[in-house]
Amino acid sequence: MNWEQIIVNALEASVGLQAVVFALAAIGLNVHFGYTGLLNFGQSAFLAVAAYGLAVMVSTFGLSFWVGILVGLVGAVILALLLGVPTLRLRADYLAIVTIAAAEIVRLIARSVTFADTFGGSDGRQAFAGGFYDLNPYPEGSYNIGSFGFGERAMWILTVGWTLVALSCLIVFLLMRSPWGRVLKAIREDEDAVRSLGKNVYSYKMQSLIIGGVLGSLGGFVYALGQASIQPDIFGTETTFYVYTVLILGGAARVASPVVGAMIFWVVLSLTDNILNQAIDAGYISTSIITNSQVGQVRFMLVGLALMLLMIFRPQGIFGDRKEIALDAR
C-alpha cells in the first residue's frame, strides 16, 4: 500500500475545492440552523441559484463574469425572500418542509427539457469560467511541496475560495458577538420571549435567512468556477445533508466549526476511499467482500458510522460546549 499517496490525497482533500464549497455552504447554514434555529433543508438551492446564475449569464447570454456573480447573489436573496415570506410566520417545521421542496423545484427546473436551451437540461452548463481564470495571477505551472500541491488553476480558485471562507467567518464572528447576533440566538431559544421584549422576530428571521443564503451561495460560485462545469444533480438533497453533517461534525453555533467540519468530512472520505481501494488492490480485502466499484458507497457508510459515534460520545460536535447540550435535556 502506498501510504505516501494516501496521505497526500488526504491533505489535498483537506484544503481542496470540495472542502471550500462545503465550508461556505455550512457557514451559511450555521447562521440559519446553528444561530437562529431555522431548519433549512434546502441549502443546496442557494448553491444552485448562485452557480446557475453565473453559468447561465455567461454561457447562455454571453454576459460578463461580474454580471453573472451579481445575478447569482441577487438570485440567492430572492430565493430567501420567496422561502421566508410564506413560512417564517409559521412553526419551524414548516420551513423544513418548504425548503426541501423548494430545493427540489430549483433542481428540477434546471434539469427540465422545457428550459434546456437556457439551463442546459441534465448536462448543465460549461464554458463560463474563462472570465474568472483570465484574472489568474499565478503563472502556468504546478505549485508543489513534495508531491502535495496544485496546478495554477486550482491555486487560483483555492486562493479565492479560502479568502471567501475567511471573510465569511469574520462576518459571522462580528455579527454574532453583537446585539444583533444576540437576538438571533434568543430566537433560537424561544421566539415568543423575544417578541415579548419588543423585537420584530419575523424581520430578524428573514435577515438571517438572507445572510445565511448569500454566504451559502458563495459555495455555489466556488464550485461552479472550480469545476468550470455544472450539472443540476449536484444540487440534490444529499448535498444539503452533507452540509448538515459537516456542521454537526464541527458543532453548531461556533464560528470556525463549519470550516473544520468540512475539512474533516473530506479528509475522512479521502482516507476511507484510498485505503479501501488500495487494500483491495493489494489483496488485503477479498473482492468477494467489496469490489473497487463499491468503495464509493462504503465510504459514506463509514462516514455515517463516524457520525453516529460522534453523536454518542461527543454530541456537542468538535467545538461545542457539552454543558449547552445538557441543558436541552432539562
Partner: protein, 324 residues
C-alpha cells in the same frame, strides 16, 4: 399621580414602603364593586373583546378598565379565559372582535413586539428563560432601542460598544436587586424554576415598561422564594408601574393586590378590592359550583331519611323472598 414617581431601579425589596399602596387604595375607594366599573385613571381600557375557538367562546369581555399605578389581580377558575385574555391584550393572539387601548392608544391588531415597545410587557405562565444564553445576555436582550440590533451597525463594535456598557450596567443593577448577580455568567437553563421566574421579571424590567403583565408569577416557585417574589411585585408598584397579574394563589392575591377582577367562562363576573371580592357570592359560585353549600332544611332531611328507610325495608324483604 403614581406614574409621576421617579423610578428607583436599585432599591432592595423591603415590603415596608407603602406609599403607592395607599395612593392606589385611595384612588379606588369610590369605584363601584361591579364588573366593568370605570376607574378614575385607567391605563388600559378594553371593550367587547371576543375570542372564539371553534364553538367555544374563550373570552367575552364587555368592558374592563385597569387603574394606573395599582396592582390588579385577574383571578378565576381554570378555563376562565384569563391567559387567553392576556394573549389578546399583548398581541400574542388576535380576537374575533373588540377594541382596547393602552394609554389612550388603540392596540387592536398591533403586533406583539410593538405592544412591548409601547410599554406593556408580559411574562409567561411557562417561564421562558432563554436557556443557552447566559443570565446577563438574557438581561441585555431586554433593552430597547439598541443600535447594535441593526445588522449593518452590528458589524462595528465602535457604534454600539458604549451603549452596550450602559445596558450592562443597568442589567447588573437589576440582577443585584433580584439577587441573581451570583448567577451572572451561568446559562439561564441551569437556574431553578423560581430563579427563572425572577430572571423573567428582571428581563421584562429591562424594557422599561409602564405596565407589567405577569402570568402566574408564583406557579412552580419554591415557597422560600415566594416572599421575595411578592416583594418584587410590590416594588414594581412603588416604582410607579402598573401591574396586572393572573394568579391562583389566593393568599398572594389578598396580600398584594389593590383590586381584583374575577373571570369565569370568558366573562368578567365580579370586581372589587380583595376582601370584598372573596366574599362575593358570584365568585364563590364560580369557583365551587352553584349549590355546593345550600344547606338542607330539617323537613328535607326527614324526607331523605324516610326515603332511605323505605328503600332499605324493600331490599330486606326482597332478599328474604329470594332465600325462601
Amino acid at each position: 399621580m403614581p406614574a409621576d414617581q421617579p423610578a428607583t431601579a436599585t432599591k432592595a425589596p423591603t415590603g415596608s414602603r407603602s406609599g403607592q399602596r395607599e395612593a392606589a387604595a385611595a384612588a379606588l375607594r369610590d369605584v363601584p364593586h361591579e364588573p366593568g366599573a370605570p376607574k378614575p385613571d385607567p391605563i388600559l381600557v378594553a371593550d367587547e373583546v371576543i375570542r372564539q375557538f371553534g364553538g367555544l367562546t374563550a373570552v367575552d369581555v364587555a368592558h374592563i378598565e385597569i387603574q394606573r399605578g395599582a396592582i390588579t389581580a385577574l383571578i378565576g377558575p381554570n378555563g376562565a379565559g384569563k391567559t387567553t385574555f392576556f394573549n389578546l391584550l399583548t398581541g400574542f393572539d388576535q380576537p374575533d372582535k373588540g377594541t382596547w387601548s393602552f394609554n389612550g392608544r388603540a392596540l387592536s391588531g398591533v403586533a406583539a413586539h410593538r405592544v412591548a415597545r409601547l410599554g406593556m410587557v408580559r411574562t409567561f405562565q411557562l417561564t421562558k428563560a432563554l436557556s443557552r444564553l447566559s443570565v446577563i445576555e438574557n438581561m441585555r436582550l431586554g433593552a430597547t432601542g439598541q443600535r447594535g440590533e441593526n445588522v449593518f451597525r452590528a458589524l462595528f463594535k465602535s457604534i454600539w460598544g458604549t451603549q452596550e456598557r450602559e445596558i450592562t450596567e443597568r442589567a447588573d443593577d437589576l440582577l443585584a436587586r433580584f439577587k441573581l448577580d451570583s448567577k451572572r455568567g451561568d446559562f439561564a437553563g441551569s437556574l431553578s424554576g423560581g430563579q427563572r421566574k425572577l430572571l423573567e421579571m428582571a428581563r421584562a424590567l429591562m424594557v422599561a415598561p409602564e405596565m407589567v403583565m405577569l402570568d402566574e408569577p408564583m406557579a412552580g416557585v419554591n415557597p422560600a422564594l415566594t416572599q421575595s417574589l411578592l416583594g418584587h411585585v410590590k416594588d414594581l408598584r412603588e416604582d410607579g408601574m402598573t401591574v396586572l397579574f393572573v394568579e391562583h394563589d389566593m393568599d398572594m392575591v389578598r396580600d398584594i393586590s389593590d383590586w381584583v377582577i374575577v373571570m369565569a367562562q370568558g366573562k368578567v363576573i365580579a370586581e372589587g378590592p380583595p376582601d370584598a371580592v372573596m366574599g362575593d357570592q358570584r365568585v364563590i359560585d364560580a369557583y365551587l359550583g352553584q349549590h355546593h353549600d345550600a344547606a338542607l332544611t330539617e323537613e328535607e332531611e326527614q324526607q331523605v331519611l324516610a326515603d332511605a328507610e323505605v328503600a332499605l325495608e324493600q331490599e330486606r324483604a326482597e332478599t328474604e323472598e329470594h332465600n325462601q
